[in-house]
Amino acid sequence: MTALALGLGLALLLISLGLLDGGHEQTIADGVRFGPGHVVIEAKGYQDSSSDELLLPAQVVSKVEGFLSTGKIKQVVRGVSPRLLATGLLSSSASSAGVRIVGVIPEDERAVSLIPQRMVEGTYLKSDDKLSGVVIGDELARKLELKIGSKAVLMTQSLRPPGTVTTEAGDEMQSTLLRVSGIFRTGLQAIDANMIYLPLSAAQALLGVTGGQVTQVTLLLVQEGDSTQVAKVLREQLTGAPVEVLTWRESLPMLAQILGLDHAFNYIMNGVILAMVGLGILNTILMRVLERRYEFGVSKALGLKPGQLAVMVVGESLALTAISLALGLGLGLSVQHYFATAGLDLRWVFKTGLPPALVFDPILYSRLSVDRIVWSVSIVFAMATIISFYPAFKAARTELPDALKVL
């Protein structure tokens, strides 16, 4: 029973950590691929003000793209995509809705964003699309009663980058006729009901942006762990330019905070699981020591030293722990493997849809690194070892001659 309890404890820990890490990894991956990437370069002040009029100069974009396409950094960057962002009003014959306009270069965006992979109708944008092509979310399509091929009018105000001279057209509302070429579904209401994607050149023309200016350049990296280092290198490269280079933790502070909080909460939960398992083990070993009082008494009477008796109890506990850990590893890794391949479908939890602020794929895939396994096994082993000290101490203190009495 002790072995089972300890093994189960480790298995629970591994499963829990696997789902936690998998969930976090997935959330980050989804968050950055639906949002600003692992690293984003924006005009200085854009992060705080969210002013669409703050644009990156075209030469900065060229410099970044040039730098990222050469040398070692090329190997850690999976994709680079410039985007132009603005707000507008999309109207159909049925209704109108406020939308977030994202102008993209389709080929670049495919390497960075998940949207092209979430198309449910039609196709994603192509570079040779006519200017009128637009991709929208299924929520928006439903609200505006739009289908593939439907026409919609996008109305927006021309952007006026600071320092630019206002032209006659600069302050005017601009509109264009768009044709729905694709509909996507991410499961995230904030995206599906609000975001529309159109070719960068079309967006620039609509918004009156000239000279190849964009709002941001997003980078998707091969490994999330390189974010800080890549951002640092880019900051050094862009020293003096009116830009800011942000990692996803800085550009998505809410997501970083939620994940941090979730980490802390899960550590507490794991601590509770471990404490419960630990108390169970302590109780079992103590009971075993009490049951074996006679055996220990006889052994002591025959010459076993108290220290030897303590070492014996600790040794037996460690042997038991080793067996338990093998059981726990077997069970835990099996379940973890299942969740890593088949995933844990949580859609039944969110029957009414995911919260708008949550960037989360409802099918959770477990991810467990070797470090995590070593850490978990070490923690449980250390806990079991420490826990065995008290029963060992009790065993060493077996009172003679009372313990020799046959009950």
């Binding site: 055996e295 006889v298 052994s299 009477a301 025959l302 010459g303 030293k305 020799l404």
Partner: protein, 267 residues
């Protein structure tokens, strides 16, 4: 004389349970010579078992001096007492106190295991002793599969196998039928003669009292008589002490099996 296995001086022990105090030993002074086959007798509560427990280092006296195999038990730590028990003292308990999960052979070799003897040598030694005391063929049986007499003989084998200087036997025949008791006493007496190991019994059993070469009677925690049977004693009659002490320096006089054997042969 300088061959003492046990030497007690004004040993006192009182058991306390809350406010209730039960004096078990009230100033026992006693010496047991190396190679003796002695018994303590007395009614229940006279202090026999307490005396054996204290001599065996299983319990501590409140005051007095206890010298066993040349060592003052009162000055030894728990670990040192355990070491002394392992190397110099053998125990035979009334209830056998065999470990039920071990076989007869494993029980008997347990002390050798604690001494660190290699497995093969342990087995050879125990098997030889088993054949000598009539346990041959029972090596692989567990205690539950043995009769009371056989279990007690396994306990004797366990006590003897390390060739201790002293064997303490607390009511060893109490749970045996008469024939088994006689057989057990034969074994122990034979071992005493052969190896010179000192035996000290506590007993109610007239057979044990009859076979003992020296009978020390206790009452209310005090020695009341100390009789050596002529022609049976391992030591001269003049060496018995009741309530008085010899002029020993126990630190320099550690009886050994070898010395005891020599002494026994000289007799």
């Amino acid at each position: 004389m300088n061959e003492w296995a046990v030497k007690l001086s004004d040993v006192r022990k009182t058991y306390r349970t809350g406010p209730i105090e039960v004096p078990a030993l009230r100033g026992v002074t006693l010496s047991i010579g190396a190679g003796e086959f002695a018994a303590t007798a007395g009614p229940s509560g006279s202090g026999k078992t307490s005396l054996l427990n204290i001599i065996g280092g299983l319990d501590r006296a409140d005051s007095g001096e206890i010298w066993v195999a040349g060592q003052n038990l009162q000055s030894l730590s728990s670990s040192e007492l355990a070491h002394l028990r392992l190397q110099r003292i053998g125990f035979v308990f009334q209830t056998y106190n065999l470990l039920p999960v071990l076989t007869a052979l494993e029980n008997a070799e347990f002390t050798l295991l604690l001494q660190g003897m290699p497995a093969r040598k342990r087995r050879e030694k125990v098997e030889k002793l088993f054949s000598e005391i009539g346990l041959g063929g029972l090596e692989d049986r567990r205690p539950a599969e043995l009769s009371g007499g056989q279990q007690q003989r396994v306990a004797v084998a366990r006590a003897m196998v390390t060739e201790p200087a002293l064997i303490l036997a607390d009511e060893p025949t109490a749970n045996l039928d008469s024939a088994s008791a006689v057989a057990l006493l034969d074994v122990m007496e034979q071992l005493n003669r052969k190896t010179g190991t000192t035996f000290l019994f506590s007993t109610h059993d007239p057979q044990v009292m009859e076979r003992a070469h020296r009978l020390i009677r206790l009452r209310d925690g005090q020695v009341v008589t100390d009789d050596t049977r002529s022609g049976k004693a391992g030591l001269g009659e003049g060496d018995r002490r009741v309530g008085q002490d010899s002029h020993l320096s126990p630190q320099t006089e550690r009886p050994s099996v070898h010395e005891a054997q020599l002494f026994a042969q000289a007799k």
